[in-house]
């Protein structure tokens, strides 16, 4: 199903205007604010400045300072206040300036945002979105490049979404804002200026992975900025005679097991790719559940290509750390091909 949906979207997208991912997110925010008066945008520097990545550019001017505004500089305050707003009829979309600067809000996210609906037996649901620019590859200094998705994906009650294309950024953010429960919306910084056509009429549903490239011999599973690495590796792999399938996970929780398992079973080999440090990560989860549910189909162990288990390195060293095409190809090479 998700393959079909994907194909349809791609066709429509050919005629659609080209946008950067940042532009697509900006457009999604504007369209959501236009469509629903209860949607508001807040955070640090999201007003006049338009955000340090210019993702909220023009929203304050267009919708007024009561719909898009700067808060005092305190992330727990931002998320905690947004929780109260969502309790009382608003749909706040908050921006955390960088991944590591969401950590002060951790208690509000884990102990409240994630749990409110459950503790009130559904009486209070929190329709709120926490946008977090995440990941590296942009030459940022320390604390500006964390891949923090595992912290959220591990937390029951959160829905964690991570687009890899401008189209998904647009469509999934619209879906996230309409979602009745809190969504952590992870925006790969490295892809903010990547461009592609975006069809703003194409709907997308949270919870569906996407086969980004079909292939018969091995499945690469990735999300965010690693999807591009996977596609590049697939290209090279293909030229070396291996047919490589790529799955873009898109929604980290809930996990689209069906698409994942179908893909892996069809190839019998799998590599999971993610930029985050690998230990106890989303990549661990994907590898573990594939190992558990596709065991009979596996010709080789599920390999993981992830960041090392180190603090995110400084700009001049980050290229050693980040998964790249060669590392993915190395991993593919280990997948017991001699048995074929």
């Amino acid at each position: 199903m998700s393959m079909i949906e994907h194909t349809r979207t791609e066709v429509a997208a050919q005629e659609a205007p080209v946008m950067t991912m940042a532009g697509a997110i900006n457009r999604a925010l504007a369209d959501a604010m236009e469509a629903d008066g209860s949607v508001l945008v807040m955070g640090e520097d999201v007003g006049k400045l338009g955000g340090v990545f210019r993702v909220t550019d023009g929203l304050a001017a267009r919708f007024g300072e009561h719909r898009c505004f700067d808060t005092p500089l305190a992330e727990s305050g931002i998320v905690g206040t947004a929780i109260g707003m969502a309790m009382n009829g608003l749909r706040p979309v908050v921006e955390m300036q960088f991944d590591a600067f969401a950590y002060p809000a951790f208690e509000q996210i884990v102990s409240h945002a994630a749990k409110m609906a459950n503790r009130t037996r559904g009486a209070i649901r929190l329709p709120m979105v926490i946008r977090i620019p995440f990941g590296g590859g942009i030459g940022g200094v320390e604390h500006h490049c964390d891949s923090s998705e595992a912290y959220y994906a591990h937390t029951p009650g959160l829905t964690v979404v991570c687009p890899a294309t401008p189209q998904d950024a647009y469509s999934l953010l619209r879906a996230a804002i309409e979602h009745p429960d809190p969504v952590i919306f992870l925006e790969p910084k490295k892809l903010y200026w990547s461009k592609a056509p975006v069809d703003v009429t194409a709907p997308a549903a949270i919870g569906h992975a996407r086969v980004a490239r079909p292939g018969a011999d091995v499945t690469l599973i990735a999300y965010g900025s690693s999807v591009g690495v996977a596609l590049d590796a697939a290209e090279v792999g293909e030229s070396e005679g291996r047919s490589v399938q790529v799955v873009d996970v898109r929604t980290l929780t809930p996990c689209d097991d069906e698409t994942l398992f179908t893909a892996v079973r069809s190839t019998g080999r799998a590599v999971v790719i993610a930029e985050a440090q690998g230990f106890a990560s989303v990549a661990s989860e994907l590898a573990a559940r594939i190992g558990e549910h596709c065991f009979e189909h596996l010709e080789a162990p599920v390999r993981r290509v992830t960041g090392f288990d180190i603090p995110y390195p400084s700009p001049k060293l980050e290229h050693f750390h980040l998964p790249d095409v060669d590392r993915v190809l190395d991993a593919i090479d280990t997948l017991n091909w001699e048995d074929r």
């Binding site: 808060t71 206040t81 929780i83 309790m87 509000q108 409240h112 009130t120 009650g157 429960d181 097991d257």
Partner: protein
């Protein structure tokens, strides 16, 4: 109202907590706050009697194993009652784990109020119906939610006021700071009520702050701070009422520190003999909020035997209802584990419920 000077010392609390009725029940003149009418004090006294009874009954239920845990507000009932009575129906209350009496006084059925402490579920009443947030446990976190609720109401032009409660210990948390700051910068109608009961579990106030008073923190956010005798329900009603109505009229947030005392251990699981003198506790018995209000009403001739009996009866009814409710066996539904986590159950939770259902079915079949 003092004229604001450049240093805004008008935002500082007064030197002594506001008190309208002294420990002997005698009215004290105040140049700013008027004692509420006797009618109102009578209503408050009835609520105090009921509140005390709820505390006693809850303690008894803990001893009988019917409640998992109880943080009693014995001795702090004046704050509990005033917090509930200061609000209109459309307002919102944000209580802590210790504020069950306030929750019940505002109209929640005791049975529902105790669902959390009984261990049946994480919260037991419909917060939206009552406009009371679920009892908050992670300290000070709820103060931010209060700011957000007030913001939303204000953005719709509603005249809702939000009263957000916390303890003296909670004022040390970062979220306390962020909540007061956000409230002041957004100029939203939130009244922060700190029940300074001198202890955070075993830690005395002197280890919590070196400030002249907790109300002195208000000026650092540009909002007024006030101290009030937390065992004087008349003063509490006057000071809270003033802050609430000021907020309602667009005057912005305020911080009220009610000076009271936690007469019992932190919860039944605590042993307060380890960290405080019996002498200190006994001294505070003299300042009991019920005794004081009763003396006052008697002196005013406003409390007759019939009314006292009616109050006692009402308190009895509540206690009996609590006992009955807590003695009814509850059969929690295991499917509830999965029902509310997300609006739509995820495939993963579907599978997990299927697993549990299967386990239970086999267990039943086996048994």
């Amino acid at each position: 109202m003092d004229a604001p000077d450049a240093l805004r010392t008008d935002l500082l609390p007064r030197e002594h907590p506001v008190r309208l009725i002294d420990e002997h029940g005698r009215l004290t003149e105040d140049d700013r706050y008027a004692a509420p009418p006797t009618e109102r004090l009578l209503e408050a006294y009835g609520a105090l009697v009921r509140g005390r009874r709820i505390n006693e009954q809850a303690n008894a239920l803990v001893r009988q194993g019917r409640l998992a845990v109880y943080p009693s507000s014995h001795g702090q009932e004046a704050c509990e009652v005033a917090a509930a009575l200061a609000l209109r129906d459309g307002d919102w209350l944000f209580p802590t784990y210790r504020d069950s009496v306030a929750v019940i006084t505002r109209g929640v059925d005791p049975e529902e109020a105790f669902v959390l402490l009984r261990g049946d579920w994480h919260a037991g009443f419909d917060p939206r119906a009552h406009r009371i947030a679920p009892h908050a446990t992670p300290l000070a976190t709820q103060l931010l939610h209060a700011v957000g609720v007030a913001f939303a109401a204000k953005s719709r032009g509603e005249d809702t006021v939000v009263l957000a409660m916390c303890g003296d210990g909670a004022t040390s948390e970062g979220d306390f700071h962020e909540a007061l700051n956000f409230a002041a910068v957004f100029h939203v109608p939130v009244v922060f009520l700190v029940q300074n009961n001198e202890f955070a579990i075993s830690v005395p106030l002197s280890r919590q702050t070196a400030a002249p008073s907790l109300a002195h923190k208000a000026i650092g956010y540009g909002m007024p701070g006030q101290r009030v005798d937390g065992n004087d329900v008349a003063a509490l009603l006057a000071v809270l009422g003033d802050a609430v109505e000021n907020a309602r009229e667009g005057g912005g947030p305020a911080l009220i520190e009610a000076h009271t005392y936690r007469m019992q251990a932190h919860t039944n699981a605590d042993d307060d003999t380890r960290y405080r003198d019996r002498e200190e506790v006994r001294a505070w018995e003299e300042r009991d909020p019920l005794r004081r209000m009763r003396a006052h009403l008697l002196a005013e001739g406003a409390l007759d035997d019939a009314t006292e009996a009616a109050f006692a009866e009402e308190a009895d009814r509540t206690a009996t209802a609590m006992r009955d409710a807590m003695n009814r066996e509850v059969h929690p539904d295991p499917e509830d584990l999965f029902r509310f986590v997300h609006a739509e159950r995820t495939p993963q939770l579907d599978a997990q419920w299927a697993q549990l259902r299967d386990e239970l079915a086999r267990e039943e079949a086996g048994a």
